[in-house]
Protein backbone atom coordinates (compact mmCIF):
# COMPACT_ATOMS: atom_id res chain seq x y z
CA UNK A 1 0.00 0.00 0.00
CA UNK A 2 1.09 3.54 -0.69
CA UNK A 3 2.84 5.35 2.12
CA UNK A 4 1.58 8.73 3.23
CA UNK A 5 3.61 11.56 4.72
CA UNK A 6 1.39 12.67 7.55
CA UNK A 7 1.20 14.55 10.84
CA UNK A 8 0.90 12.41 14.00
CA UNK A 9 -2.48 13.74 15.13
CA UNK A 10 -3.97 13.30 11.66
CA UNK A 11 -2.53 9.81 11.34
CA UNK A 12 -4.20 8.82 14.62
CA UNK A 13 -7.49 10.33 13.44
CA UNK A 14 -7.41 8.43 10.13
CA UNK A 15 -6.42 5.20 11.90
CA UNK A 16 -9.38 5.66 14.26
CA UNK A 17 -11.81 6.01 11.34
CA UNK A 18 -10.35 2.91 9.68
CA UNK A 19 -10.55 1.08 13.00
CA UNK A 20 -14.30 1.66 13.07
CA UNK A 21 -14.63 4.90 15.05
CA UNK A 22 -17.89 6.60 14.12
CA UNK A 23 -18.30 9.13 16.92
CA UNK A 24 -16.01 11.83 18.24
CA UNK A 25 -16.66 14.51 20.84
CA UNK A 26 -13.97 16.80 22.17
CA UNK A 27 -13.00 20.29 23.18
CA UNK A 28 -10.00 22.15 21.67
CA UNK A 29 -6.59 22.18 23.34
CA UNK A 30 -3.05 22.35 21.95
CA UNK A 31 -1.25 20.14 20.88
CA UNK A 32 -4.04 17.79 19.77
CA UNK A 33 -6.29 20.11 17.76
CA UNK A 34 -5.47 18.43 14.47
CA UNK A 35 -7.33 15.31 15.66
CA UNK A 36 -10.75 17.02 15.95
CA UNK A 37 -10.01 19.22 12.95
CA UNK A 38 -9.37 16.14 10.80
CA UNK A 39 -12.33 14.19 12.15
CA UNK A 40 -14.72 17.15 11.68
CA UNK A 41 -14.62 16.51 7.92
CA UNK A 42 -13.57 12.87 7.86
CA UNK A 43 -16.23 11.33 10.09
CA UNK A 44 -19.21 12.68 8.08
CA UNK A 45 -17.66 11.06 4.96
CA UNK A 46 -18.13 7.61 6.52
CA UNK A 47 -21.52 8.25 8.10
CA UNK A 48 -20.04 9.10 11.48
CA UNK A 49 -20.74 12.04 13.76
CA UNK A 50 -18.40 14.76 14.99
CA UNK A 51 -19.27 17.03 17.89
CA UNK A 52 -17.25 19.89 19.28
CA UNK A 53 -18.61 19.83 22.79
CA UNK A 54 -19.10 22.88 24.98
CA UNK A 55 -16.57 21.46 27.42
CA UNK A 56 -14.39 18.46 28.16
CA UNK A 57 -16.94 17.23 30.70
CA UNK A 58 -19.75 17.35 28.14
CA UNK A 59 -17.56 15.66 25.52
CA UNK A 60 -16.57 12.66 27.60
CA UNK A 61 -20.21 12.17 28.61
CA UNK A 62 -21.25 12.27 24.95
CA UNK A 63 -18.66 9.55 24.36
CA UNK A 64 -20.28 7.62 27.21
CA UNK A 65 -23.66 7.98 25.48
CA UNK A 66 -22.34 6.93 22.09
CA UNK A 67 -20.49 3.94 23.58
CA UNK A 68 -23.72 2.80 25.26
CA UNK A 69 -25.29 2.44 21.81
CA UNK A 70 -22.48 0.16 20.67
CA UNK A 71 -20.77 2.73 18.44
CA UNK A 72 -17.01 3.00 18.49
CA UNK A 73 -16.46 6.35 20.22
CA UNK A 74 -13.37 8.51 20.66
CA UNK A 75 -12.31 11.63 22.49
CA UNK A 76 -8.94 13.32 22.55
CA UNK A 77 -7.32 16.02 24.64
CA UNK A 78 -4.12 17.01 26.40
CA UNK A 79 -3.19 16.94 30.12
CA UNK A 80 -5.46 19.72 31.49
CA UNK A 81 -8.40 18.46 29.42
CA UNK A 82 -7.83 14.84 30.41
CA UNK A 83 -8.02 15.92 34.07
CA UNK A 84 -11.45 17.43 33.33
CA UNK A 85 -12.57 14.20 31.68
CA UNK A 86 -11.48 12.13 34.68
CA UNK A 87 -14.98 11.81 36.14
CA UNK A 88 -16.45 10.63 32.84
CA UNK A 89 -13.66 8.11 32.27
CA UNK A 90 -14.30 6.62 35.71
CA UNK A 91 -18.03 6.40 34.86
CA UNK A 92 -17.18 4.61 31.61
CA UNK A 93 -15.12 2.08 33.58
CA UNK A 94 -17.95 1.65 36.07
CA UNK A 95 -20.61 1.14 33.37
CA UNK A 96 -18.22 -1.22 31.59
CA UNK A 97 -18.34 0.76 28.38
CA UNK A 98 -15.64 0.67 25.71
CA UNK A 99 -14.18 3.93 24.44
CA UNK A 100 -10.81 5.24 23.32
CA UNK A 101 -9.23 8.33 24.84
CA UNK A 102 -6.20 9.96 23.24
CA UNK A 103 -3.87 12.14 25.30
CA UNK A 104 -1.36 14.17 23.28
CA UNK A 105 0.60 15.27 26.30
CA UNK A 106 2.25 18.62 27.05
CA UNK A 107 4.17 20.25 29.87
CA UNK A 108 2.54 20.24 33.31
CA UNK A 109 1.38 20.55 36.01
CA UNK A 110 -1.52 23.00 35.79
CA UNK A 111 -2.00 24.74 32.50
CA UNK A 112 1.70 23.95 32.05
CA UNK A 113 3.03 24.72 28.59
CA UNK A 114 1.81 23.88 25.12
CA UNK A 115 5.15 22.27 24.23
CA UNK A 116 5.59 18.49 24.32
CA UNK A 117 6.26 16.54 27.52
CA UNK A 118 5.71 13.05 28.91
CA UNK A 119 4.22 14.39 32.10
CA UNK A 120 1.05 12.30 32.31
CA UNK A 121 2.47 8.79 32.89
CA UNK A 122 1.26 8.55 36.47
CA UNK A 123 -2.18 9.91 35.64
CA UNK A 124 -2.57 7.49 32.73
CA UNK A 125 -1.29 4.34 34.42
CA UNK A 126 -2.39 4.75 38.03
CA UNK A 127 -5.54 6.87 38.21
CA UNK A 128 -7.32 8.13 35.11
CA UNK A 129 -10.17 8.90 37.48
CA UNK A 130 -11.41 8.16 40.98
CA UNK A 131 -12.37 4.76 42.29
CA UNK A 132 -9.32 2.62 41.64
CA UNK A 133 -9.95 1.35 38.11
CA UNK A 134 -7.29 0.86 35.42
CA UNK A 135 -7.26 1.33 31.68
CA UNK A 136 -4.89 -0.10 29.12
CA UNK A 137 -2.40 2.55 28.06
CA UNK A 138 -0.71 2.32 24.66
CA UNK A 139 2.39 4.46 24.12
CA UNK A 140 3.52 4.48 20.48
CA UNK A 141 7.02 5.65 19.54
CA UNK A 142 6.55 6.06 15.79
CA UNK A 143 3.60 7.20 13.73
CA UNK A 144 3.30 3.76 12.16
CA UNK A 145 2.99 2.26 15.63
CA UNK A 146 0.46 4.97 16.55
CA UNK A 147 -1.62 4.02 13.50
CA UNK A 148 -1.48 0.30 14.26
CA UNK A 149 -2.32 0.70 17.96
CA UNK A 150 -5.17 3.15 17.34
CA UNK A 151 -6.58 0.96 14.58
CA UNK A 152 -6.94 -1.94 17.01
CA UNK A 153 -7.69 -0.01 20.20
CA UNK A 154 -11.44 -0.70 20.10
CA UNK A 155 -10.82 -4.44 19.88
CA UNK A 156 -9.30 -4.24 23.37
CA UNK A 157 -11.88 -1.74 24.64
CA UNK A 158 -14.77 -3.96 23.52
CA UNK A 159 -13.17 -7.25 24.54
CA UNK A 160 -12.76 -5.99 28.09
CA UNK A 161 -15.58 -3.41 28.05
CA UNK A 162 -13.27 -0.78 29.44
CA UNK A 163 -11.79 2.52 28.25
CA UNK A 164 -8.40 2.38 26.50
CA UNK A 165 -5.92 5.25 26.44
CA UNK A 166 -3.43 6.19 23.75
CA UNK A 167 -0.71 8.31 25.32
CA UNK A 168 1.59 10.17 22.97
CA UNK A 169 3.51 13.38 23.55
CA UNK A 170 3.12 16.58 21.54
CA UNK A 171 6.27 15.88 19.49
CA UNK A 172 4.76 12.76 17.98
CA UNK A 173 1.45 14.58 17.63
CA UNK A 174 3.08 17.29 15.51
CA UNK A 175 5.77 15.36 13.67
CA UNK A 176 5.26 14.30 10.06
CA UNK A 177 6.62 10.99 8.88
CA UNK A 178 5.65 8.18 6.57
CA UNK A 179 2.78 5.90 7.51
CA UNK A 180 0.92 3.10 5.84
CA UNK A 181 -2.76 2.62 6.64
CA UNK A 182 -4.57 -0.68 7.00
CA UNK A 183 -7.89 -1.24 5.20
CA UNK A 184 -11.12 0.19 6.56
CA UNK A 185 -12.64 -2.26 9.05
CA UNK A 186 -16.06 -3.41 7.96
CA UNK A 187 -18.16 -3.68 11.09
CA UNK A 188 -21.03 -6.12 10.74
CA UNK A 189 -23.97 -6.95 12.99
CA UNK A 190 -21.58 -9.19 14.94
CA UNK A 191 -19.78 -6.09 16.05
CA UNK A 192 -22.93 -4.69 17.64
CA UNK A 193 -22.61 -6.04 21.10
CA UNK A 194 -25.35 -7.80 22.95
CA UNK A 195 -24.84 -5.55 25.96
CA UNK A 196 -25.60 -2.24 24.33
CA UNK A 197 -28.86 -0.32 24.48
CA UNK A 198 -31.82 -1.87 22.67
CA UNK A 199 -30.02 -5.17 22.27
CA UNK A 200 -31.33 -7.17 25.19
CA UNK A 201 -34.63 -8.75 24.23
CA UNK A 202 -37.34 -8.61 26.79
CA UNK A 203 -35.55 -6.12 28.98
CA UNK A 204 -38.15 -3.62 30.02
CA UNK A 205 -35.94 -1.07 31.57
CA UNK A 206 -33.44 -0.33 28.84
CA UNK A 207 -30.90 2.10 30.20
CA UNK A 208 -27.25 2.07 30.98
CA UNK A 209 -26.19 4.14 33.94
CA UNK A 210 -23.88 3.75 36.85
CA UNK A 211 -26.21 3.92 39.81
CA UNK A 212 -25.31 3.53 43.45
CA UNK A 213 -24.86 -0.21 43.35
CA UNK A 214 -25.68 -2.49 46.26
CA UNK A 215 -22.35 -2.95 48.04
CA UNK A 216 -21.98 -6.71 47.39
CA UNK A 217 -22.58 -6.10 43.68
CA UNK A 218 -20.04 -3.30 43.53
CA UNK A 219 -17.51 -5.48 45.31
CA UNK A 220 -18.15 -8.23 42.77
CA UNK A 221 -17.63 -5.79 39.92
CA UNK A 222 -14.29 -4.72 41.36
CA UNK A 223 -13.16 -8.30 41.97
CA UNK A 224 -13.91 -8.98 38.31
CA UNK A 225 -11.95 -5.94 37.25
CA UNK A 226 -9.01 -7.00 39.35
CA UNK A 227 -8.98 -10.39 37.67
CA UNK A 228 -9.17 -8.70 34.30
CA UNK A 229 -6.11 -6.53 34.99
CA UNK A 230 -4.12 -9.68 35.79
CA UNK A 231 -5.30 -11.17 32.51
CA UNK A 232 -4.14 -8.10 30.56
CA UNK A 233 -0.72 -8.54 32.07
CA UNK A 234 -0.52 -12.09 30.75
CA UNK A 235 -2.15 -11.60 27.36
CA UNK A 236 -1.75 -8.03 26.28
CA UNK A 237 1.60 -6.69 27.49
CA UNK A 238 3.53 -5.21 24.58
CA UNK A 239 7.23 -4.39 24.78
CA UNK A 240 10.28 -3.98 22.58
CA UNK A 241 13.46 -5.54 23.96
CA UNK A 242 16.57 -4.24 22.23
CA UNK A 243 20.13 -5.59 22.52
CA UNK A 244 19.57 -7.05 25.99
CA UNK A 245 21.48 -10.33 25.63
CA UNK A 246 24.85 -9.23 26.97
CA UNK A 247 23.72 -5.87 28.37
CA UNK A 248 25.44 -4.47 31.45
CA UNK A 249 23.30 -1.36 31.35
CA UNK A 250 19.62 -1.26 30.40
CA UNK A 251 17.81 1.90 29.33
CA UNK A 252 14.06 2.05 29.89
CA UNK A 253 12.12 4.58 27.84
CA UNK A 254 8.82 4.87 25.99
CA UNK A 255 7.40 7.02 23.19
CA UNK A 256 9.53 9.88 21.89
CA UNK A 257 12.10 9.38 24.69
CA UNK A 258 12.67 5.82 23.49
CA UNK A 259 13.58 7.04 20.01
CA UNK A 260 16.14 9.50 21.35
CA UNK A 261 17.45 6.89 23.79
CA UNK A 262 17.75 4.21 21.09
CA UNK A 263 20.00 6.52 19.10
CA UNK A 264 22.22 6.85 22.19
CA UNK A 265 22.22 3.08 22.76
CA UNK A 266 23.39 2.50 19.19
CA UNK A 267 26.11 5.14 19.55
CA UNK A 268 27.35 3.58 22.80
CA UNK A 269 27.29 0.09 21.25
CA UNK A 270 29.55 1.41 18.48
CA UNK A 271 31.92 2.55 21.20
CA UNK A 272 31.92 -0.95 22.65
CA UNK A 273 29.54 -0.43 25.60
CA UNK A 274 27.31 -3.36 26.47
CA UNK A 275 24.01 -1.57 26.63
CA UNK A 276 20.44 -2.41 25.67
CA UNK A 277 16.93 -1.06 26.02
CA UNK A 278 13.48 -2.04 27.22
CA UNK A 279 10.72 -0.02 25.55
CA UNK A 280 7.27 -0.45 27.08
CA UNK A 281 4.60 -0.18 24.37
CA UNK A 282 1.84 -0.82 26.89
CA UNK A 283 2.51 1.39 29.93
CA UNK A 284 -0.36 -0.44 31.60
CA UNK A 285 -0.01 -3.39 31.75
CA UNK A 286 3.64 -2.54 32.43
CA UNK A 287 6.10 -5.05 30.94
CA UNK A 288 7.23 -6.31 34.33
CA UNK A 289 8.85 -9.51 33.11
CA UNK A 290 11.24 -7.71 30.75
CA UNK A 291 12.83 -6.00 33.75
CA UNK A 292 12.31 -8.67 36.38
CA UNK A 293 13.96 -11.34 34.24
CA UNK A 294 17.14 -9.40 33.40
CA UNK A 295 20.33 -11.20 34.30
CA UNK A 296 21.36 -9.16 37.36
CA UNK A 297 24.68 -10.94 37.63
CA UNK A 298 25.52 -8.91 34.50
CA UNK A 299 23.37 -5.81 34.73
CA UNK A 300 25.11 -2.99 36.59
CA UNK A 301 22.46 -0.32 36.19
CA UNK A 302 19.04 0.53 34.80
CA UNK A 303 18.57 4.00 33.34
CA UNK A 304 15.13 5.60 33.08
CA UNK A 305 14.92 8.24 30.32
CA UNK A 306 11.75 10.34 30.25
CA UNK A 307 10.74 13.75 28.94
CA UNK A 308 9.55 14.77 32.39
CA UNK A 309 11.17 15.65 35.72
CA UNK A 310 11.08 13.89 38.11
CA UNK A 311 10.83 10.59 36.22
CA UNK A 312 7.39 9.03 36.69
CA UNK A 313 7.98 5.50 35.39
CA UNK A 314 10.81 5.02 37.88
CA UNK A 315 8.62 3.47 40.57
CA UNK A 316 7.34 0.81 38.17
CA UNK A 317 10.93 0.09 37.17
CA UNK A 318 12.17 -0.10 40.76
CA UNK A 319 9.43 -2.57 41.67
CA UNK A 320 10.93 -4.99 39.14
CA UNK A 321 14.62 -4.25 39.70
CA UNK A 322 14.11 -4.92 43.43
CA UNK A 323 17.38 -3.29 44.48
CA UNK A 324 19.41 -5.76 42.43
CA UNK A 325 21.20 -2.83 40.77
CA UNK A 326 21.04 0.96 40.95
CA UNK A 327 18.33 2.83 39.02
CA UNK A 328 19.28 6.16 37.42
CA UNK A 329 17.15 8.76 35.69
CA UNK A 330 17.59 11.56 33.16
CA UNK A 331 14.99 13.81 31.63
CA UNK A 332 13.86 17.21 30.47
CA UNK A 333 10.65 18.84 31.56
CA UNK A 334 8.12 21.61 31.15
CA UNK A 335 8.16 21.52 27.34
CA UNK A 336 11.97 21.47 27.03
CA UNK A 337 12.76 18.63 24.64
CA UNK A 338 15.15 15.74 24.99
CA UNK A 339 17.86 15.75 22.33
CA UNK A 340 20.36 13.23 20.95
CA UNK A 341 23.48 14.72 22.52
CA UNK A 342 21.89 15.41 25.90
CA UNK A 343 20.59 11.86 26.30
CA UNK A 344 23.82 10.33 24.98
CA UNK A 345 25.94 12.36 27.39
CA UNK A 346 23.70 11.55 30.37
CA UNK A 347 23.84 7.82 29.66
CA UNK A 348 27.55 7.85 28.78
CA UNK A 349 28.33 9.54 32.09
CA UNK A 350 26.65 6.70 33.98
CA UNK A 351 28.00 3.88 31.81
CA UNK A 352 31.55 5.11 31.38
CA UNK A 353 31.94 6.92 34.65
CA UNK A 354 30.71 3.87 36.54
CA UNK A 355 28.64 6.21 38.68
Amino acid sequence: MEKKFMKGCEAIAEAAVRGGCRFFAGYPITPQNEIPEYLSWRLPQVGGAFVQGESEVASINMVYGAAATGKRALTSSSGPGISLKAEGISYLASAQLPAVIVNISRGGPGLGSIQPAQSDYLQATKALGHGGFRAMVFAPATLQEAVDLTYNAWEYAERYRNPVMILMDGCLGAIMEEVEFPEMKELTADNVKEWCLDRIDGREDDHMITPILPEPLLEKLNIGKGMQYKMWEKLDTKVEEFMLEDAEYVVVAYGIAARVAKEAVLRLREEGCKIGMVRPITLYPFPKASLNNLDYTKVKGVIDIEMTIPAQMREDIELQVKDRCPVYEYGRSGGMLLDDDGVYEAIAKIVKGGE
Partner: protein, 179 residues
Protein backbone atom coordinates in the same frame (compact mmCIF):
# COMPACT_ATOMS: atom_id res chain seq x y z
CA UNK B 1 23.82 9.37 5.33
CA UNK B 2 21.66 11.43 7.67
CA UNK B 3 21.30 15.19 7.41
CA UNK B 4 19.36 17.61 9.54
CA UNK B 5 17.99 21.00 8.55
CA UNK B 6 16.51 23.71 10.73
CA UNK B 7 14.28 26.27 9.00
CA UNK B 8 13.66 29.33 11.15
CA UNK B 9 12.00 32.71 10.90
CA UNK B 10 8.69 34.20 11.86
CA UNK B 11 5.11 33.10 11.26
CA UNK B 12 4.04 34.02 7.73
CA UNK B 13 7.44 33.59 6.07
CA UNK B 14 6.61 30.12 4.83
CA UNK B 15 8.98 28.32 7.19
CA UNK B 16 6.75 25.27 7.71
CA UNK B 17 5.81 25.16 4.06
CA UNK B 18 9.48 25.17 2.98
CA UNK B 19 10.30 22.41 5.48
CA UNK B 20 7.42 20.23 4.32
CA UNK B 21 8.40 20.72 0.67
CA UNK B 22 11.96 19.60 1.42
CA UNK B 23 10.77 16.55 3.37
CA UNK B 24 8.18 15.54 0.78
CA UNK B 25 10.68 15.88 -2.04
CA UNK B 26 13.17 13.69 -0.17
CA UNK B 27 10.48 11.04 0.28
CA UNK B 28 9.58 11.22 -3.40
CA UNK B 29 13.27 10.43 -3.99
CA UNK B 30 12.90 7.21 -1.94
CA UNK B 31 14.68 8.64 1.11
CA UNK B 32 13.34 8.72 4.66
CA UNK B 33 12.34 12.02 6.21
CA UNK B 34 10.78 13.54 9.32
CA UNK B 35 9.39 17.05 9.73
CA UNK B 36 8.94 18.48 13.22
CA UNK B 37 7.38 21.94 13.63
CA UNK B 38 7.80 24.10 16.72
CA UNK B 39 5.82 27.24 17.29
CA UNK B 40 4.38 29.29 20.09
CA UNK B 41 0.78 30.16 20.93
CA UNK B 42 0.71 33.15 18.53
CA UNK B 43 -1.60 32.98 15.55
CA UNK B 44 0.67 35.23 13.44
CA UNK B 45 4.13 36.70 13.65
CA UNK B 46 5.55 34.52 16.43
CA UNK B 47 8.75 32.61 15.97
CA UNK B 48 8.54 29.65 13.63
CA UNK B 49 10.97 26.76 13.49
CA UNK B 50 10.96 23.33 11.97
CA UNK B 51 13.46 20.51 11.87
CA UNK B 52 13.70 18.28 8.81
CA UNK B 53 15.79 15.13 8.77
CA UNK B 54 16.65 13.36 5.54
CA UNK B 55 18.26 9.95 5.67
CA UNK B 56 18.93 6.89 3.54
CA UNK B 57 18.19 4.67 6.53
CA UNK B 58 15.12 4.68 8.76
CA UNK B 59 15.16 7.66 11.13
CA UNK B 60 15.34 6.67 14.79
CA UNK B 61 15.55 9.92 16.75
CA UNK B 62 13.89 13.00 15.25
CA UNK B 63 15.44 15.28 17.89
CA UNK B 64 19.03 16.16 17.00
CA UNK B 65 20.78 18.64 19.29
CA UNK B 66 22.76 20.20 16.44
CA UNK B 67 21.85 20.56 12.80
CA UNK B 68 23.94 20.25 9.62
CA UNK B 69 22.20 23.14 7.93
CA UNK B 70 20.42 26.19 9.33
CA UNK B 71 18.14 28.33 7.22
CA UNK B 72 17.51 31.69 8.89
CA UNK B 73 14.86 33.95 7.41
CA UNK B 74 15.32 36.82 9.88
CA UNK B 75 17.81 38.27 12.35
CA UNK B 76 16.01 36.99 15.43
CA UNK B 77 15.97 33.41 14.17
CA UNK B 78 19.63 33.66 13.17
CA UNK B 79 20.66 34.84 16.63
CA UNK B 80 18.56 32.18 18.32
CA UNK B 81 19.72 29.15 16.35
CA UNK B 82 23.21 29.90 15.00
CA UNK B 83 24.70 28.17 18.03
CA UNK B 84 22.91 24.94 17.08
CA UNK B 85 24.80 24.41 13.82
CA UNK B 86 27.49 21.72 13.74
CA UNK B 87 31.04 22.86 13.18
CA UNK B 88 31.64 22.80 9.42
CA UNK B 89 27.89 22.99 8.78
CA UNK B 90 26.05 25.23 6.37
CA UNK B 91 24.01 28.35 7.12
CA UNK B 92 21.71 29.87 4.53
CA UNK B 93 20.67 33.38 5.46
CA UNK B 94 18.06 35.69 4.02
CA UNK B 95 20.39 38.68 3.69
CA UNK B 96 17.41 40.93 3.00
CA UNK B 97 16.82 40.69 6.74
CA UNK B 98 19.92 39.18 8.34
CA UNK B 99 22.62 41.85 8.35
CA UNK B 100 25.29 40.40 10.63
CA UNK B 101 26.79 36.94 10.75
CA UNK B 102 28.44 35.44 13.78
CA UNK B 103 30.42 32.27 13.01
CA UNK B 104 33.35 31.56 10.72
CA UNK B 105 33.52 27.81 11.41
CA UNK B 106 30.45 27.27 9.22
CA UNK B 107 29.83 27.91 5.54
CA UNK B 108 27.52 30.91 5.23
CA UNK B 109 25.49 31.41 2.07
CA UNK B 110 23.88 34.84 1.93
CA UNK B 111 21.09 35.47 -0.54
CA UNK B 112 18.61 38.36 -0.30
CA UNK B 113 15.65 36.06 -0.92
CA UNK B 114 13.03 38.71 -0.02
CA UNK B 115 14.42 41.09 -2.65
CA UNK B 116 14.75 38.30 -5.21
CA UNK B 117 11.14 37.25 -4.59
CA UNK B 118 9.95 40.87 -4.90
CA UNK B 119 11.73 41.18 -8.23
CA UNK B 120 10.01 37.99 -9.39
CA UNK B 121 6.69 39.56 -8.48
CA UNK B 122 5.71 38.49 -4.94
CA UNK B 123 7.60 38.44 -1.64
CA UNK B 124 5.58 35.36 -0.65
CA UNK B 125 7.78 33.14 -2.83
CA UNK B 126 10.88 34.04 -0.78
CA UNK B 127 10.67 30.60 0.82
CA UNK B 128 10.61 28.91 -2.58
CA UNK B 129 13.67 30.93 -3.67
CA UNK B 130 15.28 29.66 -0.48
CA UNK B 131 14.63 26.02 -1.33
CA UNK B 132 16.24 26.74 -4.70
CA UNK B 133 19.28 28.22 -2.98
CA UNK B 134 19.50 25.10 -0.81
CA UNK B 135 19.38 22.84 -3.88
CA UNK B 136 21.92 24.97 -5.76
CA UNK B 137 24.32 25.05 -2.84
CA UNK B 138 24.01 21.49 -1.52
CA UNK B 139 22.28 19.33 -4.13
CA UNK B 140 20.42 17.64 -1.28
CA UNK B 141 17.28 17.16 -3.35
CA UNK B 142 16.62 16.96 -7.06
CA UNK B 143 15.43 20.01 -8.98
CA UNK B 144 13.06 17.95 -11.13
CA UNK B 145 11.41 16.24 -8.18
CA UNK B 146 10.88 19.48 -6.26
CA UNK B 147 9.40 21.15 -9.33
CA UNK B 148 7.07 18.19 -9.75
CA UNK B 149 6.07 18.51 -6.07
CA UNK B 150 5.44 22.26 -6.34
CA UNK B 151 3.53 21.84 -9.59
CA UNK B 152 1.24 19.35 -7.91
CA UNK B 153 0.80 21.61 -4.89
CA UNK B 154 0.04 24.82 -6.76
CA UNK B 155 -1.71 23.44 -9.84
CA UNK B 156 -5.09 23.73 -8.19
CA UNK B 157 -4.48 27.28 -6.97
CA UNK B 158 -3.63 28.83 -10.33
CA UNK B 159 -1.21 28.33 -13.21
CA UNK B 160 0.23 31.80 -12.48
CA UNK B 161 1.14 30.87 -8.89
CA UNK B 162 2.62 27.59 -10.09
CA UNK B 163 4.78 29.35 -12.65
CA UNK B 164 5.88 31.99 -10.18
CA UNK B 165 7.05 29.24 -7.79
CA UNK B 166 8.90 27.40 -10.53
CA UNK B 167 10.61 30.65 -11.55
CA UNK B 168 11.48 31.17 -7.87
CA UNK B 169 13.05 27.70 -7.59
CA UNK B 170 15.09 28.23 -10.74
CA UNK B 171 16.32 31.66 -9.66
CA UNK B 172 17.21 30.23 -6.25
CA UNK B 173 19.19 27.35 -7.77
CA UNK B 174 21.09 29.81 -9.95
CA UNK B 175 22.00 31.98 -6.96
CA UNK B 176 22.74 29.00 -4.72
CA UNK B 177 25.13 27.33 -7.15
CA UNK B 178 27.12 30.56 -7.45
CA UNK B 179 27.39 31.00 -3.70
Amino acid sequence: MKQSFVFSGSGGQGIMSAGITLAQTAIAMQKHSTFLPEYGPEQRGGSAKCTVIISDAEIISPLPKKCDTLIAMNELAYAKFIGDVKEGGTVVVNSSRVKTTARDDVKTISVPVDDVALELGNVKVANTVLIGVLIGATGIISKDVVIAALSKKFKEKSPAIMELNIAAIEKGIELGSKA
